[in-house]
């Protein structure tokens, strides 16, 4: 594996590496302990989802969106449903909109819990991972009573949601919201403000605002660089414009703005904000229809739409072309993690090998969405 001039060594990191968050292969060129180049190789999880979309009908594609970002299925369902609704001009009932926000935000919390947990275990602290999983189980239980599944929900459908929430859901969600803030405090004591953890992450892999724009970085990673951009505020969909929540941005509390610690901390702050949103939505919830009247066979008019939504990992976009038949003519998926991954080669130049894990973990990429 040595190079001709024997100064550099090429090593494969992955595809089966515990901290690559899926099956990512990085071809790493090292100069001693220092990285001189990183080249990501993707495609190990390719399932041709965009092609599948061309051979199934519009409602049939919804379960496949679960398998994009499987840690945030609700958000993927939501973005796809909104795309088809825009094409068909469907008005979603208010109760369904509120239910969608509740589910999307709960899923954002559970996705960030995994980001928090897996990042900490990448950094060598295993306990927080178990803590994150413990709270996530609570949310999974909530989803399970709402839709019957714990991972691939297929709950948010074209026109609304698949069924109304059962009795007891609201009480259980409130119970979770009451219990959760204490846990966030615990995470902060346990990990966020741990001196070793901060030393390990502050000033590492700084993404400047310009770089963030150039590489198309979105989501918490963009906001960590100090740019206040959140689609829930910039292009409000559903009922987000009625809700009161803050958009946390990175301030370089422990080092430079946009370093790995800032990116990590963004997720902790966002979990607090999401919990706040869910609480407001529960108060807003009034009786009504959980879905609009949607015919069984959907035949949207010919045309094209692009709809984007704020996913836990950034901006998920669906570009859909319809030729007037029951199946999409073409569906292009803009996956946030793909753009976020593309900055790794730039960030990893000239850092120590051990920091590469910190870079991947702090970007919180997920491979099924990149490979599709």
């Amino acid at each position: 594996m040595t190079n001709a001039d024997e100064k550099f060594m090429q090593v494969n990191m992955g595809p089966q590496h515990p901290s690559t968050h899926g099956v990512l292969r990085l071809l790493v060129t090292t100069d001693g302990e220092v990285l001189s180049g990183v080249k990501p190789y993707i495609g190990y999880l390719h399932r041709a989802l965009e092609k599948i979309a061309e051979r199934v009908t519009y409602p049939q594609f919804s379960p496949f969106t679960d398998r994009l970002d499987y840690l945030a299925s609700m958000n993927c369902n939501l973005a796809y449903a909104m795309t088809v609704e825009k094409l068909l001009n469907i008005e979603v009932p208010r109760r369904a909109q509120i239910l969608r926000v509740i589910m999307a935000e709960l899923n954002r919390i559970s996705s960030h819990l995994i980001a928090f947990g897996s990042f900490s275990s990448d950094m060598g602290a295993f306990t927080p991972f178990l803590f994150g999983i413990r709270e996530r189980e609570f949310i999974n239980d909530l989803f399970e009573i709402a839709c019957g599944a714990r991972l691939t929900y297929n709950y948010i459908r074209i026109g609304g949601v698949s069924k109304d929430i059962p009795g007891g859901f609201i009480e259980k969600t409130r119970e979770f919201l009451d219990y959760f803030p204490a846990k966030i405090k615990e995470y902060n004591e346990l990990l966020s403000y741990n001196a070793i953890f901060i030393k390990r992450l502050a000033n590492i892999a700084v993404i400047s605002p310009d770089d963030a724009f150039d590489y198309g970085i979105t989501g918490p990673n963009l906001r960590a660089s100090g740019i206040k951009w959140d689609l829930r505020r910039e292009e409000p969909y559903l009922i987000y414009n009625e809700l009161d929540f803050d958009i946390p941005v990175g301030k370089g509390e422990m080092g430079k703005t946009g370093d790995a610690w800032d990116r990590y901390m963004m997720r902790i702050y966002e979990m607090e904000q999401s919990a706040k949103i869910v609480r407001q939505c529960l108060d807003l919830l009034a009786p009504g229809d959980y879905t609009a009247k949607v015919s069984k066979v959907l035949k949207p008019p010919a045309g094209e739409v692009y709809v984007r939504a704020e996913n836990p990992r950034g901006e998920l976009g669906f570009y859909l072309i319809s030729d007037g038949s029951t199946k999409p003519y073409r569906l292009k998926i803009r996956a946030p993690s793909f753009a976020n991954l593309s900055i790794i080669p730039k960030l990893a130049r000239g850092v120590m090998i051990a920091d590469l894990v910190a870079i991947i973990g702090s970007l919180d990429i997920i491979l099924p969405e990149i490979d599709r």
Binding site: V56, P59, Q60, F61, S62, P63, F64, D66, T127, R134, E137, D141, E144, I145, C147, G148, A149, T152, N154, S162, K163, P166, E186, E189, L190, L191, Y193, N194, A195, I196, K296
Partner: protein
Amino acid sequence: MAGYFKKMYHSISTVLTGLGITIKYGINPKTEVTQQYPEVKREPPEGFRGKLFVDINICTGCTACARICPVDAITLKTVRDENKKLRPVLFDIDNARCIYCGLCVEACPVDNCLYFEKKYEFSAYSKEDLISHFGLGEVKPAESKTEDKKTEAGKEGKEAAQ
């Protein structure tokens, strides 16, 4: 020099705070969350999407479920009995293919005909054992030779509707 000790104090104190939390959970049995799975089993809630079940006696053989399935997990074959009613002679659900999306259950027009059971443990040694056979099985010799696929069954269903 003072800064050095301050830093050291800070590092040690934050690490100890973290350890304190870990120890708190370690010695308090009330905080235990792990379930001893094979011994203690969890009862899934109402509406859990487990293994699919068909009440074949009330199934009308309309093939709506097979047509909506995004992964073609349902193989259906229908024949008309002496009363000209459509009967599903072959109704196979491939549990290895099924993605438990629930579209078929929602599409079924007959109440309590096709539904999810709460079963979630059904591993098998071979792929074939994962296919559930619900069909009535009374195939006449002439028809049993041709292996009807879902599309053909769908055509038949459409003809019946006319």
